[in-house]
Amino acid sequence: SCDFYVSPARRSSGFRATTIMAVEFDGGVVIGADSRTTTGAYIANRVTDKLTPIHDRIFCCRSGSAADTQAIADAVSYQLGFHSIELDEPPLVQTAANLFKQMCYRYREELMAGIIVAGWDKRRGGQVYTVPMGGMLVRQPVSVGGSGSSYIYGFIDSKYKSGMTKEECLRFTADALALAMERDGSSGGVVRLAAITESGLERSVILGNQLPTFFSA
């Protein structure tokens, strides 16, 4: 199938039909994504799940070519699972992020993948790492990606403050994604959220008619 497949004509403009986001809080992370996959003007999947588990407490949010990101995520899950067995303890989020970076940087000319890695580990708690196209790696308290992300930089810069609770982060992520989905034609559908903490994973979905509403001119 063709989750966010991008035709060759579109590839050169770096078109990434998505909005993804991740936020750190004390004790974990919140991640979110829209659910729209487009092939040209047709919405191939309106309920896509762009939040992919890499390990028990580590997820990645995928944007860019679906084929590329699925292949990378599969390879990294395998490597991380193997590493975790060797170590005999849960892997670090930083390790997962570095595995993504190594692959995305080595094959940077062939790949079109923008990935946000987020999760919880015992050493550093909740962490968000972003690996945009080109293969750099940087940790950020809040990170957005995908075509819809441009529209919410201003909102995120103005509204983010450190020390938010899990519920505040969930609300903040849902608001930001709703705003991006309102403005970006390639993002839409439902909002998928996940909160990852020491105790585990909580997934939720906000349906279209339950999304927060804002003013639109």
Binding site: S150, D157, S162, F215, A217
Partner: protein, 218 residues
Amino acid sequence: MLGESSIQPEWLSEEVKTGTTIIAIGYEGGVVLGSDSRVSAGASVVNRVMNKLSPLHDKIYCALSGSAADAQTIAEIVNYQLDVHSIEVGEDPLVRSAATLVKNISYKYKEELSAHLIVAGWDRRAGGQVYVTLDGLLSMQPFAVGGSGSSYIYGFVDAEYRKGMTKKESQEFVVNALTLAMGRDGSSGGVAYLVTIDQEGAVERCIPGNELPTFFDQ
């Protein structure tokens, strides 16, 4: 030196654009317009203090974005046309008239021009109004954003705008929006220019970069 083969610096052969963030918002009794001050030619900033808020008449201003030459020329022509029109009519022109004149030029020469002007002002008939003329359309809106930096603040303005803001709230809204856009858009920056227009007239203000509000990553 690596690649220093040209006789002239690169920026002399690049098109001069007002990369820009522009914004206009109506409130009860008037409008507030805002813009950044950066003019770029390729990667060089050729003017870091350009005022992109151009008067079309006493109580009607326009905000320039896109190609600097195109935008300035449109504003000059419409300024002239409005002067003639207001003499013929014998009173201050309507904001809608100014916006229509801008739209006529933008539409007729849409293939040749690449400039987007937001027209805003105050008139006796309908008070404060904001018009967009992008691509040659004409549309009145409660507020409008434009320029390359506007993409980054759509989420912010959608979330923060409320009907019935006061003059002070509108000015803060404009300053915050400009600051956030200038923080993310490489083609916007410098100082923030503000113009507040109401029944009394137009008041211009310049806010230097170090007096702009700061947000979480600064």
